[in-house]
C-alpha cells in the first residue's frame, strides 16, 4: 500500500496533474478568505469593464494632499492617452499625403509622432484625394491636441446655498496624489462581465461549484457503475442478462441526448446545481458498468476467489475483499475521468441554456453561456470567457494527466 502510493506520487505525470489541481483547489479555498462577499454582486453599472485598477475619481480629487511633480514625459503621456489608435492612423494618412515617407513615421512613439505632426501640419493645405469629412476630422484632432497642451488647470467648484457655483480648489497639470491616500481603489484583474460582476471572483466561485458538480456526478456514476458491474460480472446468469440489457439500452441512446432531454423536462426552476449533477451522474454510468464487469469476469474464476469461497465467505464479503481491492486502482481511474466528464457535461449543458438555475450560483458553464449571450467574443471582451476556457482546459488536462500517471503505475506494460 505504502509502496503503491510512493510509486503513484513518483510518477511525473500524476504529480504534475496533482499539483495543478491542488493549486486550483487551494485557490478556491484561500481566495474567498481575502476577498469575501457575494461573488455574484453587481459592482459595475454597464457591461464588460476591461481588466485593470479602478481608482475613485471622487476620492482622488478629494485626496488629503496633492504633491507637485514635474515629470518630463507627463505631457507626452497625456497626449498619448487621448490619441486613439484610430486618430493616429488618420494623422499618419495625412502625413503620408503631405509627402512624409512612411518609414519616418513611428505611430507608437507619441513624443516624436506629435512633434512631427506639429512640424508638418498646416490646416490650409488641401489634398484632392481627401474628403471634406476627413479634413474636418483631422482639424478636430489638431484642435484637441492644442487644447491638451494649453495647460489649463481644472477648477473644482461647489454649489453654494444660493445655487451659484463657487470655486473650491484647483487641480493643476502637475498635481499628483499618492494612490495610498485614495480611499477607494479596486483591482479587477479580469474586469467585469455583462452584469457588472467581478469576473475573477465569480470564476473562482464558479470553479468551486463546477468541481463539486463534477465530484457529485462522478461519485454517482461510479457508484452505480461499480455496483451494477460487480453484480453483473460476479453473479452472472440472469442478473447479468438483465443488467446488460439495461446497460445496452443506455448505450444505444447517447448519454448526452438523454441528459439534454431530462434537463429540459425538469424545467428551469427545479434545476439547481445538485440536480444537474445528479442528472449528469444518472446518465453516465454505462461506461463504468461495462468496464467494471469485464474486470470482474476475469477475476471471478481466480483461485484466491475460490479459496475465499472454500473458506465460507459470503457473496458480499467476497465482492468487498476479494474483488473490489483488485479493481480499486481501476475504479479510481474511472472516477477521475467521470469527474472530468461531469465538469465538461455541465459546461456543455449550460452553453445550451440547460444548466443550473442562473440566479443563485455561478458555474464555469454559465459564465461561458452569458459571455456568449452578450457576444463578448465580438466586442473584444476576452476576459469574460477566455480565462474560463483556460480554466476548464486546465482542470481537464490535470485530471487526465493524473489518470495517465495512474495508468502507467498500475498497467506497467503501457510504459514506453
Amino acid at each position: 500500500m505504502k509502496n503503491t502510493l510512493k510509486q503513484v506520487f513518483g510518477s511525473g505525470q500524476f504529480m504534475m496533474g496533482f499539483v495543478i489541481i491542488s493549486l486550483i483547489v487551494l485557490t478556491i479555498i484561500i481566495y474567498p478568505l481575502f476577498n469575501p462577499g457575494n461573488p455574484l454582486e453587481r459592482i459595475g453599472i454597464g457591461t464588460f469593464f476591461k481588466p485593470g485598477t479602478y481608482v475613485s475619481a471622487f476620492d482622488t480629487v478629494n485626496a488629503r494632499q496633492f504633491y507637485t511633480l514635474n515629470l518630463p514625459d507627463a505631457e507626452a503621456k497625456r497626449v498619448g492617452s487621448k490619441l486613439s489608435p484610430d486618430d493616429r492612423v488618420s494623422m499618419m494618412e495625412w502625413l503620408v499625403a503631405a509627402g512624409v515617407s512612411e518609414e519616418d513615421i513611428d505611430i507608437e512613439d507619441t513624443d516624436s509622432f506629435v512633434q512631427l505632426w506639429w512640424d508638418t501640419y498646416d490646416p490650409n493645405v488641401r489634398f484632392d484625394s481627401m474628403t471634406t469629412a476627413f479634413r474636418k476630422k483631422i482639424g478636430r484632432i489638431d484642435v484637441a491636441l492644442e487644447g491638451i497642451l494649453e495647460d489649463m488647470d481644472v477648477i473644482i467648484a461647489k454649489e453654494g446655498e444660493d445655487g451659484s457655483l463657487a470655486q473650491s480648489s484647483v487641480v493643476a497639470g502637475s498635481d499628483y496624489v499618492n494612490v495610498a491616500d485614495v480611499a477607494n481603489v479596486r483591482f479587477l484583474p479580469l474586469g467585469t462581465d455583462n452584469f457588472g460582476r467581478d469576473v475573477l471572483k465569480e470564476m473562482i466561485s464558479a470553479c468551486r461549484t463546477s468541481l463539486l458538480i463534477g465530484l457529485l456526478a462522478g461519485a454517482i456514476a461510479t457508484l452505480i457503475g461499480l455496483t451494477l458491474g460487480l453484480l453483473s460480472g460476479y453473479i452472472g446468469g440472469i442478473v447479468d442478462d438483465i443488467i446488460m440489457f439495461v446497460t445496452n439500452l443506455f448505450t444505444v441512446i447517447p448519454g448526452f441526448v438523454l441528459l439534454i432531454l431530462i434537463s429540459f423536462s425538469i424545467g428551469q426552476e427545479q434545476r439547481g446545481a445538485p440536480v444537474v449533477a445528479i442528472v449528469i451522474g444518472l446518465t453516465s454510468w454505462v461506461w463504468t458498468t461495462r468496464s467494471v464487469r469485464a474486470q470482474v469476469v476475469s477475476l471471478r474464476n481466480r483461485d484466491h476467489v475460490n479459496l475465499s469461497k472454500l473458506s465460507g465467505h459470503s457473496l458480499l464479503r467476497i465482492l468487498a475483499t476479494d474483488i473490489l481491492p483488485y479493481i480499486a486502482s481501476y475504479v479510481i481511474m474511472a472516477f477521475i475521468l467521470q469527474v472530468c466528464s461531469g465538469i465538461l457535461a455541465e459546461a456543455q449543458l449550460s452553453m445550451l441554456g440547460l444548466g443550473p438555475k442562473t440566479t443563485e450560483i455561478p458555474t464555469l458553464g454559465l459564465m461561458m453561456y452569458w459571455a456568449m449571450a452578450y457576444t463578448a467574443h465580438l466586442g473584444g471582451a476576452w476576459w469574460a470567457y477566455f480565462p474560463v476556457v483556460i480554466l476548464i482546459a486546465l482542470i481537464s488536462f490535470s485530471l487526465n494527466l493524473m489518470n495517465t500517471g495512474l495508468d502507467q503505475v498500475f498497467n506497467p506494460q503501457l510504459r514506453d
Binding site: R302, D303, N306, K309
Partner: protein, 287 residues
C-alpha cells in the same frame, strides 16, 4: 528439506483401502461454450472414491483435471451428470449447504502464487479456517495455540509468519501454508491439484511428505491430481487415467501400472523407465 522417503505408510494403506464410497460421480460432464464453439473439457466420467483412499488422477496438460476438481469442489457448475457425496446426491443449492459441503471437502490449488488474496495477511487466512470450523469464539490464546500447531506441522514458525503477507513467502512455503490450512480445517476429503507443479524441485519432496503425514494423522481421503504417473504409482491406492476429458483406465495402482490395458496408459508407463524399481527421490526430484 526432508530427504528421507515418505515411509512405508502409503503401501501399508494400499492393502486395506476398501472403505465406503464418499465421493462418486456418474456421467459427469463439463462443456465450455464460447462464441458458439463447444469445448468438452470433461466428458461423461464415472468414478468412485472411497474413505481413506489416496486416489491419483493422472493426465497431461489440458486433459481436464483442474476442471474436474472444480466441479468436485462445487466451484464450477456441472453441465451434465450427477455427483454423490456420502452416498446421497450432492445438494449445494444454497449458501448454507455449500458451506456445510466445504467443511467436508477442501483443496490445494495448482498455483500457490495466485491462491492467496494479496491484500490479506497470513493470520487472516489461518483464522478463517477456525471460523469455518465454528471455532471463532475460542479464546485468543487457544486460537493461537491451534494456529501455531498447524504451522509447526508444516515446519513453519508462526512467530515468523505473523503480520506477513503470503506473497512474502517462497512458492514452497506458500504451498506448505496451504497444507497448514487443511490441517486446521481437517476436512473429510482433500483435493490436491498438482500441488507441486509450480514450485522448485527441492520443495516438492517436502510438500509430498507433509501431505502423506497429514493423511496419516487425520485419515482423510486425498484426491491427488498429477501428470507424473511414476509419482502417482508410488503414493496412490487407486489411479484414474484421464485423456482429453475421459477416464480411459482406472483401478488399483498396481493393476493400472503393471498391467495397463489402454494405449495411452501404456505410453505413459513406458515414458518412465524406472517405474518398476523402488522409488528414488534423488533421481526424480533432484533434477
Amino acid at each position: 528439506m526432508s530427504e528421507q522417503a515418505p515411509t512405508a505408510l502409503a503401501s501399508d494403506l494400499r492393502q486395506d483401502a476398501t472403505g465406503i464410497p464418499v465421493l462418486s460421480g456418474k456421467g459427469v460432464t463439463k462443456v465450455f461454450e464460447s462464441g458458439g464453439k463447444k469445448n468438452v473439457a470433461v466428458d461423461h466420467v464415472d468414478f468412485e472414491f472411497r474413505q481413506g483412499e489416496l486416489v491419483s488422477i493422472v493426465g497431461e496438460s489440458g486433459s481436464g483435471k483442474t476442471t474436474l476438481v472444480k466441479m468436485l469442489l462445487g466451484l464450477t457448475a456441472i453441465s451434465e451428470g450427477d455427483i454423490y457425496y456420502m452416498g446421497t446426491k450432492r445438494d449445494i443449492s444454497t449458501r448454507g449447504k455449500k458451506k456445510e459441503y466445504w467443511k467436508g471437502i477442501q483443496a490445494i490449488f495448482q498455483d500457490p502464487f495466485s491462491s492467496y488474496n494479496i491484500f490479506h495477511k497470513i493470520d487472516a487466512v489461518l483464522l478463517d479456517c477456525l471460523n469455518m470450523r465454528g471455532l471463532g469464539k475460542l479464546p485468543k490464546e487457544k486460537k493461537l495455540e491451534l494456529i501455531t500447531e498447524a504451522c509447526s506441522f508444516v515446519n513453519l514458525k508462526y512467530a515468523e509468519l505473523t503480520n506477513k503477507y503470503p506473497f512474502e513467502l517462497s512458492g514452497g512455503q506458500q504451498q506448505r501454508l496451504m497444507i497448514a490450512r487443511i490441517f486446521l480445517l481437517k476436512p473429510r476429503i482433500l483435493l490436491a491439484d498438482e500441488p507441486t507443479s509450480m514450485i522448485d524441485a527441492c520443495s516438492r519432496a517436502t510438500i509430498l511428505d507433509m501431505l502423506l503425514n497429514l493423511r496419516n494423522e487425520t485419515g482423510m481421503m486425498i484426491i491427488f491430481v498429477t501428470h507424473d504417473i511414476g509419482l502417482a504409482y508410488y503414493i496412490s491406492d487407486a489411479i484414474y487415467i484421464m485423456e482429453r476429458g475421459k477416464f480411459v483406465e482406472h483401478g488399483k495402482a498396481d493393476q493400472v501400472i503393471l498391467t495397463p490395458t489402454a494405449d495411452y496408459t501404456k505410453r505413459l508407463v513406458n515414458d518412465v523407465p524406472k517405474i518398476h524399481q523402488p522409488w528414488d527421490f534423488s533421481v526424480n526430484f533432484g533434477k
